[in-house]
């Protein structure tokens, strides 16, 4: 006679729930006891597992970060583009600086040579007195009183008015009261430049000289050296002459390097006493 087996329906002790779950729970309890009873053995056994886990977590984080925040990535991309443009501009400025220095040095790259003495500008207005540059070369470098200072493209800037051991003072042609012989225009009309301060110069010429706005003003040197250009002509009907307002060839107060040379060609009169 066939027996009917009625299994007791107990959810906790049924054969289905006691299979894999119970086996896993037993394993977990075994690991727990291992940690409690033999912690050193436990950490030694699981150290490689933790290392693999850390490596996997690092990789997964780096992978998910790539897609993490599109807005942040777009913002970062925008910042990088701006930074790239900024660096490109900076690079262009540096290239220009190198070109200016090379031109100033005659591509020789030496600090001191037969062509002149290269000196960095230590102080410029308003750090130094107006229309005065303090440069980092002095007697030790061979600077002498009366040497002429040239900027980029051989533009005359001023004259060394004071020399110390390691520094010198260059009084610019635009210093108030400083007079310099020069010429203007294609006809090389001679005139006397008078410093007007703040980088500007004035000169008086006859009304009939035919000087026009934009004419270049030269000072004697090795050839004719452009020092600036006429930007305005003030005319007084009661006077037979006109006053020329002359702007330097470039911003005298932004130059970083000057070259000092003893030309002996510029006749300059200092209105103020030199120390």
């Amino acid at each position: 006679m066939k027996k009917t087996f009625l299994a007791k329906r107990n959810a906790l002790l049924s054969s289905r729930s006691a299979s894999w779950g119970a086996l896993a729970l037993t394993t977990a309890l075994g690991v727990l006891f291992l940690r409690l009873l033999a912690p050193n053995l436990f950490w030694q056994a699981f150290a490689p597992v933790f290392r693999v886990s850390d490596a996997l977590a690092t990789e997964s984080h780096s992978f998910s970060d790539r897609f993490g925040n599109a807005a942040a990535l777009a913002s970062l991309n925008e910042k990088l583009v701006e930074r790239n443009a900024s660096l490109a501009n900076e690079n262009a400025a540096l290239v220009q600086k190198v070109a200016n220095l090379s031109e100033l040095l005659g591509a020789s790259g030496v600090q001191s040579g037969s062509s002149g003495i290269l000196a960095g500008v230590i102080a410029r207005p308003p750090e130094s007195p107006y229309d005065v540059l303090v440069v980092g070369a002095g007697e030790n470098e061979g600077v002498a009183l009366g040497m002429e200072a040239f900027g980029a493209a051989d533009v005359p800037l001023g004259v060394v008015s004071s020399v110390l051991a390691d520094v010198s003072r260059v009084t610019l042609f635009s210093a108030p009261g400083m007079t310099t012989n020069a010429s203007v225009g294609r006809a090389n009309v001679p005139l006397t430049l008078t410093g007007a301060g703040a980088g500007a110069m004035n000169a008086s010429v006859a009304r009939t000289a035919g000087v026009a706005v934009g004419d270049t003003v030269f000072v004697p040197g090795p050839g004719m050296l452009p020092i600036g250009s006429v930007v305005r002509i003030d005319s007084d009907p009661l006077s037979p002459g006109v006053t020329l307002r002359i702007k330097p060839a470039f911003n005298l107060f932004s130059t970083a390097w000057v070259e000092l040379r003893a030309t002996g060609a510029v006749s300059t009169v200092f209105a103020t006493s030199t120390p």
């Binding site: 329906r9 959810a11 906790l12 729930s17 299979s19 894999w20 779950g21 119970a22 086996l23 896993a24 729970l25 394993t27 977990a28 309890l29 690991v31 727990l32 940690r35 699981f46 597992v49 933790f50 693999v52 886990s53 996997l56 977590a57």
Partner: protein
């Protein structure tokens, strides 16, 4: 098949995956193996619990709670008339 691989994967996920994923997976596995949440919680606390990091073994307690709930639901289903 689901029980065996699911249980093994739940234990491994406690090591290799973030805990939210492991918790969700263990919660899902409770439908097939009620002891899996308790097992995973116990295993996670065995691996990561430190007395100065937490005041109580949170994963074990949470797993025990889910396991108890799973057993309760299974028991009600098995004794009901809509047993599948």
């Amino acid at each position: 098949m689901i029980r065996s691989f699911g249980t093994l994967f739940a234990l491994l996920s406690a090591i290799f995956f973030p805990w939210p994923f492991t918790a969700c997976f263990a919660l899902g596995m409770a439908l097939y193996e009620p002891l899996v949440p308790l097992t995973v919680g116990l295993f996670s606390d065995t691996l990561y619990y430190t007395s100065h990091g937490a005041q109580m073994p949170f994963f074990t307690l949470a797993g025990a709670f889910v396991t108890a709930a799973a057993f309760f639901v299974r028991n009600r289903l098995k004794t009901g008339i809509i047993e599948g």
